[in-house]
Symmetry: C2
Subunit: 595 residues, 2 copies
């Protein structure tokens, strides 16, 4: 981001603050509900997820009548929250929005919102509530706890959102909406807004809408930032160009893809990604070497990363599954970390020096090292199909085979479980977007997320949307395929049918009944959900040849209708990365003797 | 409950307290996980609901190996919580148990647990969590918020449970389990227990298991109770026998059905029920007059209740939908209320005088009035099929027609929406159990609840389980039909297909698109979920004749397999009670002008 645009943002923010303090004397010409919708439209929101409920119906009138925002009726609120999450992940610079009703609706969404918090996804949760009069009198309305604790839901929501606002006062409603949305886009975390029924159509001034919301962080302190840049430049020089960059989750979440790409161009640094950073940089980038996950890393890549004299982590998020169970072998003395809130150089932390402003200056300061850096080669991360003699579709073969099927700008959604690990083994085409939930890891998330991702992909001109989900996970959220069909979306859904919760089996209880599930007739699903015989097609593949023929079929690959492929796999097969990961976890499994 | 058994309970409770204070020096011969399971078995728990997750797998080993408790793998956690709720409602004196995993699992269950809190249903929520070591070190594990706030989920759960216990210390684990379960059964509200992975197999003494848990309330203060009895007797005498009793939700929830029945026998009081009290007293009881819902009440019944000189409410819960939008016409001067925590006589509140102990003494004190009371007749609440000339299946005809289909000891589960209101219009056979969620009113609840109810019904020897659910509601939780099939349960599921959220349409937005839903191929559902071709059958009925023929079919009525009946109804038809209710609510609808 240029310093000019940072300054412009700062000016806008100050003007809004000023407006908040001034008594509003302008014309009261927009309803609070529509003010909120206009702000969302300004942020590029085109779809709103959720479920109707009697406390939000008046607001939904406004949504349905809005020219730019489409109401997506989800089948349930958890799925709606997942969809908002998926939408926000794919539609960068926008946010996901989910609207629910008081109590019953909002609480069903809790896990989805908490996941967005954990994974840093900007989601706005709007809850229609009883009127301001009822909020004061606290009658035993339906959807209440029966004991007058109207604040209970907000107290729960406060655990999983960075800001909560109750729009109960028309004098502060606009400022609260603006603040909530600014926090949401700036910090990439959920915010929670309650809209009492009687406030929806109350009119306020629309003056503030003329000033756009600012997403930029406060300016880095000039002197500290300069000190940090000099320090990093010194470390890089000492490393004699033997430097690697690791891109991680927050490169995507805190919107520094472009800045990172510029840095790589100027410096020539080799770059690797973590599981959560996969596709932050195109995987065909000439200096890209693959995925680093500590001990779970392929040996060649591991050596390249860990033996570099200096490692610069950008947007790092060191969770267990993102680091091979905390098995990074990167000594602090050789490590620099750039974050959205601070910078770390070796043992020193520099608070308030954030990466979005730092990165361009760093590129400038380091570009003279380019020739030195380029001497260090990067083994490219390329696809390769292993040879196997059996017809069985193994995990080892499946993912590389799929890598030949993917096209540029595909959106690939992978479920927690074998899919999240399998996809790490293969490179994805340029411009493709990987959507996965590695930190939160809530099974079933990918189905709702796929719906949101597909709507966002349509908005921003991405290619096909391809979902990989296990049979166990799909059972949690299966109904969300219905809105996909209703809305004419055309994802290709691969259902990995391995008869149960395979990832759990690898963690514990391989032969336990509780890890098995009912075997549904998967290829009948689309038919059940399809309305007015909208086009759809389903397939079952049991062998490598069957799968290959299908993938090579042009009609199938074109993705011109919603399609579901049941891929029959062995219950106790798993991707390499998952096996290594669970072996690492097993070392600390307190039930080990019972496995 | 006899005073002897109250005393015995008191003795047991004191012995447990004593054990808690004594240093445990006995043999360490049972694991904490199994201690918990033994306590559940003592409470008659035979089914445990939930979803496996890596933090609970070790505990699930113990569940799977337990001889008396069966693991019910649900499709998702919200459905599991609903199932636990349904189980507890039907299996009186036992509790519902749902086991989930840290974060992702437990938060998905939030709405189900909050519903059990609101409606006073005893549910234990067991959450498998990271080990005690990890709880101290707080690493960024999967399923965490990424910021070390391991306590966040407990803080949210505290809003919706009456007690929270973390079993992190083997010295206190047994006492905490006992306390949690005692609170759960005594107060009929959810409790929340977290079980760290490393504590599951830690051994403790089993000594405490010899002492049963006590469910009784502390003894009423003798003098206050006597004063209250005398006062009530005086009021009854003044009323010259013109007294009616209204039974409500807490008669069922706080386990005083038998006491109420004895009171009615001794006194001869006419008795009416609220929506939430329906089936608390058999509806063929000779002194039973039907349902009282304030202004929503049928005029004849309304007069009988409101013109009585004295009205005794037992276990009252005055929520909006349970009182015809707070339209009781019962002056405080003519009103006596018996509750589980206190008694109210006119304007006076008597704290600590609870109904379970009070009722038998009240019956004794009032029985001499029997002949006087019997002079007042009660118009019986009988079934009658209205004549309609059209073939269309109307709400007005449907419910009375179904009343001829119901049999003694049937369990009837009704969904929030048209079903909850429709069922009020007809009497149910003796020994039948109505399961509905009128206060919390979470759509989709009935499907999970039906699963739990069916398992409980099997345990306690009830008859068929019959579910009424709208097409809109069923879409939220549809997958929970799958475990019903897997477990060989045989509910009859009536899907009222009225093309959307009809109750919402009556509240607001009759012609709004957001109240419409996709029209699924309902009769294909069972087939998709059925494994190994377990027997099942589905039907669509579009006319009165079609439905009547089906209901009269002996094979269908025998309920020997799971069956689904799609009942096609008009989108804008609703039961009388729902229409009146929504007209009442509409008077305070802030969006009125937009309807």
């Amino acid at each position: 981001m240029s310093s000019h645009s940072v300054l412009q943002s700062e000016v806008d923010r100050l003007r809004l603050q000023l407006q908040t303090l001034q008594v509003e004397q302008g014309v009261q010409n927009i309803s609070i509900g529509n003010y909120l919708l206009e702000r969302l439209a300004q942020l590029g929101v085109t779809s709103m997820f959720g479920v109707p409920g009697d406390f939000n119906l008046g607001f939904l009138d406004l949504v349905e009548d809005h020219s730019k925002i489409e109401w997506v009726g989800n089948c349930n609120e958890l799925n709606a929250a997942y969809a908002a999450d998926g939408y926000a992940r794919v539609k960068e610079h926008s946010i996901g929005v989910v609207t629910t009703t008081f109590g019953v609706g909002e609480l069903s969404a809790t896990n989805g919102i908490a996941g967005a918090f954990s994974e840093m996804v900007p989601v706005l949760h709007i809850v229609g509530t009883p009127s301001t009069v009822q909020q004061k009198a606290k009658p035993i309305l339906h959807h209440t706890l029966g004991d007058g604790r109207y604040e209970a839901y907000r107290l729960a929501a406060a655990q999983f959102s960075i800001f909560q606002a109750n729009l109960a006062d028309k004098n502060t409603a606009a400022a609260l909406i603006d603040h909530a949305l600014t926090e949401c886009i700036k910090l990439a975390r959920p915010v929670y807004v309650t809209l009492p029924m009687d406030m929806v159509t109350q009119e306020i001034s629309s003056e503030r809408l003329k000033i756009p919301l600012s997403r930029s962080h406060p300016l880095n302190d000039h002197d500290t930032e300069k000190f940090v840049i000099d320090l990093i430049a010194e470390r890089v020089k000492e490393a004699e160009g033997d430097v690697v960059v690791i891109v991680d989750a927050c490169v995507i979440r805190h919107d520094v893809r472009k800045e990172v790409l510029d840095l790589l161009k100027e410096t020539g640094f080799p770059v690797y990604a973590t599981p959560m950073g996969k596709t932050a940089i195109n995987e065909d980038h000439e200096r890209y070497g693959g995925i680093y996950i500590g001990t779970v890393t392929h040996p060649d890549i591991k050596k390249k990363v860990e033996q570099a004299k200096l490692i610069i982590s950008i947007g790092g998020l060191q969770s267990d599954f993102n680091t091979g169970n905390f098995s990074y072998k990167i000594p602090t003395l050789r490590h620099i970390e750039l974050h959205s809130t601070h910078t770390k150089v070796q043992y020193a932390t520099f608070a308030g020096v954030e990466m979005k402003q730092l990165l361009p200056k760093l590129g400038e300061a380091l570009k003279s090292l380019h020739p030195l850096v380029r001497k260090f080669e990067v083994p490219l991360f390329v696809k390769a199909l292993p040879k196997e003699d059996t017809p069985v579709i193994s995990q080892l073969w499946f993912w590389p085979r799929l890598s030949y099927f993917f096209k540029p700008k595909d959106v690939i959604v992978t479920e927690t479980g074998t899919s999240n690990f399998g996809i790490l083994e293969v490179p994805l085409p340029p411009g493709s977007v990987l959507v996965s939930q590695i930190l939160w890891g809530s099974i079933g998330w990918s189905v709702g997320s796929c719906l949101g991702a597909a709507l966002a992909a349509r908005d921003v001109g991405l290619n096909r949307v391809i979902l990989f989900v296990g049979d166990g996970s799909l059972q949690l959220t299966v109904q969300e395929i219905s809105p996909m069909i209703r809305l004419g979306l055309k994802p290709i859904i691969f259902v990995l049918n391995n008869s149960g919760y395979t990832i759990e089996k690898f963690i514990h209880g391989k032969k336990r009944k509780y890890n098995n599930i009912a075997n549904w007739k998967w290829t009948e699903l689309l038919n059940v959900f399809s309305e007015d015989d909208k086009p759809h097609k389903s397939y079952t593949v049991r062998t490598k040849d069957e799968l290959s023929s299908l993938l090579d079929d042009k009609a199938f690959a074109s993705g011109d209708k919603i399609q579901l492929v049941e891929v029959v796999m062995e219950p106790l097969d798993a991707p390499r990365a998952l096996k290594v990961q669970t072996e690492l976890s097993a070392k600390s499994d307190p039930y080990k003797e019972r496995r």
